[in-house]
């Protein structure tokens, strides 16, 4: 199993370690619920060094990214970032990504899911339009700092005024001699950001964040709470809401697809599926009766006919309620529609509800 630069730090913080996408990662430290609420109320640190990074450089960098991704990379100026998708030739999704513009037209960093890193790297090489590609995944450690106190903590440790940055901006600095890119992005719905830092200095940054965050109630957060935090925001997770056969419009990701602006892999089938009209929609729901929805459970109308399936489900620590995300036939997607989720053979009554499940601050 692969280890992140923070492996020993996790063991020192008494993390419970599990295998995730070929990496040995902390699933939790003191407890999922406590960690989750600490991010909502104070601040938490996440080791996301397992995420992959692909560098795209040279005179054909922009052309290559325009072809590989659905969003319009051309509008990115230096220091801006963009959520985007890697479509396949059939109009499904290879991955969802963030593109960071380091130098317009010629230098971009693409952050990809750990579970897809090898596949994405092959995909980039196969569909390259002349860019200089480097798999920098081993070069970078990555730490996310999220929560109401995150800006204060980031400022204390690095001097970066994150509170003055709009979402999806980056700042490149040198921190104690190490190359660092800070991005005002995240996966929890809270304030904060994510650091890319040279692998060898990642541990130093982690310990500095822990130390300077003591009176801000900082806490390391495991992958368990990372998942419940993103589920409360209805953020997609590859392998759950989206995969190789997903229709990105059904997934609610049409806002990052720009067919008017450019040509890209799979554009024809993606546009055709949009024009045909959506038959399914990705919704959020809460159970009314007792029971917790989980991935792959089936969704039904009140007569018992199957109308869809669950992509993610959990007990929401913030709401103390069972919540789920799933695809349903579009006519069941209106807020307030009553549906049922099959939990071990019992049809548990549920209701389609507003998302994010949590009100954004």
């Amino acid at each position: 199993m692969k280890k992140t630069p923070l492996h020993q730090n996790h063991l020192n913080h008494k993390a419970k370690m599990v295998e995730f996408a070929g990496w040995e990662m902390p699933i939790q430290y003191v407890g999922l619920k406590e960690e989750h609420l600490n991010v909502r109320n104070h601040v938490g640190l996440f080791d996301v060094s397992h995420m992959g990074e692909i560098r795209v450089q040279g005179p054909s960098a922009l052309k290559t990214l325009q072809w590989l991704t659905t969003n319009n990379v051309e509008i990115l100026e230096n220091g801006q970032a963009q959520y985007s998708l890697l479509p396949n030739a059939e109009g499904g999704l290879v991955d969802d990504i963030i593109v960071y513009c380091l130098e317009k037209n010629q230098d971009y960093l693409v952050c990809v899911n750990a579970s897809n890193e090898e596949k994405d790297w092959q995909h980039f090489q196969k569909n390259n339009q002349g860019a200089w590609l480097t798999n920098e995944s081993a070069h970078w450690g990555q730490i996310a700092v999220q929560g109401p106190q995150a800006f204060e903590l980031i400022q204390r440790v690095t001097g970066i005024e994150a509170s003055q940055m709009k979402p999806f901006q980056t700042k490149s600095i040198t921190w104690l001699g190490a190359q660092m890119i800070f991005a005002s992005t995240g996966y929890t719905g809270e304030k904060g950001g994510e650091f890319f830092i040279e692998a060898a200095s990642t541990g130093k940054l982690w310990e500095a964040l822990i130390e300077k965050g003591q009176n801000l109630n900082v806490m390391p957060i495991g992958l368990g709470a990372r998942d419940t935090l993103r589920t409360e925001m209805k953020y997609s997770l590859y392998g759950h809401e989206i995969n190789e056969t997903s229709n990105p419009y059904e997934a609610g990701l049409g806002w990052v697809i720009k067919p008017q602006a450019k040509d890209f892999i799979g554009k024809t089938p993606i546009v055709a599926r949009k024009d045909a009209g959506l038959t399914r929609s990705l919704i959020g729901f809460k159970t009314i009766e007792r029971g917790i929805p989980r991935q792959d459970y089936t969704l039904h109308d009140l007569e018992g006919r199957q109308i869809g399936y669950v992509t993610s489900g959990t007990h929401s620590p913030s709401l103390d309620a069972a919540i789920g995300i799933g695809y349903v036939e579009s006519r069941f997607s209106n807020l307030g529609t009553e549906i049922a989720v099959d939990i071990r053979g019992k049809k548990i009554k549920s209701v389609v509800c507003k998302t994010p499940f949590l009100n954004q601050k």
Partner: protein, 129 residues
């Protein structure tokens, strides 16, 4: 970590305990199981009168992250269900050995007890984890 493992209870390899009083068997999960699960947020138990079979699932406990089946230590009929757990699942974490009992079963045959572990063997089982 030191777990409370009563000497007079029987144990399954899936970490349920069984306390036998003549032909009435009270069933719960062990402290070890409780710590592995994390905070319990949901408990699904059978109804009174339901028949259950040794070694098969008779319900589930769920933490935020995971669903775990409960396995029946003995075959028989459910005669009492700890319904308080349904309203306060977290109490299972506080006291799995006593107040956190799940069901009481009228056992069909005490011969089945031979298939269960006693405390020393169960201690060995979790020592290897």
């Amino acid at each position: 970590m030191a777990f409370h493992i009563p000497e007079d209870y029987y144990y399954t390899k899936e970490h349920e305990w069984a306390q036998v009083d003549e032909n009435i068997v009270t069933v719960g999960i062990t402290e070890f199981a409780q710590t592995q699960l994390g905070e319990v947020v949901y408990v699904d138990l059978p109804e009174e009168g339901q028949k259950v079979t040794q070694g098969t699932s008779f319900g589930v406990v769920e933490s935020v992250k995971a669903v775990s089946d409960l396995y029946c230590p003995v075959s028989g009929t459910v005669i009492e269900v700890n319904t308080a757990l349904m309203d306060d699942p977290a109490s299972l974490n506080d006291d799995p050995i006593n107040n956190g009992w799940l069901v009481r079963i009228e056992m069909d045959s005490e011969k089945e007890l031979a298939n269960l572990m006693r405390a020393p063997d169960y201690k060995k089982l979790i020592a290897d984890k």
